[in-house]
Symmetry: C2
Subunit: 122 residues, 2 copies
């Protein structure tokens, strides 16, 4: 047993399903939106503009299942439900923010490349 | 016009489609596989174990279209086709490797959380 027994380059390695959780557009945006602290569902839909209720529900459930997000129901009337990052979720912030930064820095270049490609191959 | 006019949190921002390109399991693995230098299609299928021909073709075409990968046809008989990272692709390596590292470091914890969640909610 080595210290890092996982290898997502092997087809049967379960780490590939873990990679799927973070290598995902909605994970990047939802985890990023939770950086500042706990948020309610309705605030998340505002922050992550255009996300459907279904997609946000699915993303939050996946993140909760994988231990990146904690869902807390506060015993109030009506009950208040909040979502916040766990330690593992907080640890994912750095690489996810790095991906977001790359996206912001290279979006112009990528969109130009895309346009040129389509002009050549249209 | 600010220096970074893109914002993937806005629904209509085209940077969201750029984020889609990198926040993707196969992008992580294919770009990672190309770190060492140009590879042929057949070598990539070996390196990224289990990727289907169709999925690899689609991933490489997307990466080429977006300017992260360069496809070169060497004039030999038979022609040799190689894929390599462009500068933008190389710049994406760091955040993608960081995501891969997070995955390796947290896979055990995530898989345990998943199992516990399923036991509670099964």
């Amino acid at each position: 047993m080595t210290e890092l027994p996982f290898d997502p380059y092997r087809r049967a390695c379960p780490s590939r399903t873990v990679l799927d959780r973070v290598a995902d557009r909605w994970t990047v945006l939802v985890v990023g939106a939770l950086e500042g602290g706990p948020l309610r569902f309705s605030h998340l839909t505002q922050r992550v503009d255009g996300v459907s209720q279904k997609m946000l529900t699915q993303t939050l459930r996946g993140l909760e299942r994988d231990g990146l997000v904690r869902r807390t129901v506060h015993a109030e009337v009506p009950p208040r439900v909040e979502y916040e990052l766990t330690d593992a979720g907080r640890a994912a912030l750095e690489p996810l923010r790095a991906l977001e930064r790359w996206t912001l820095e290279h979006a112009g270049e990528v969109l130009a490349a895309r346009e040129a490609y389509d002009a050549r191959n249209g």
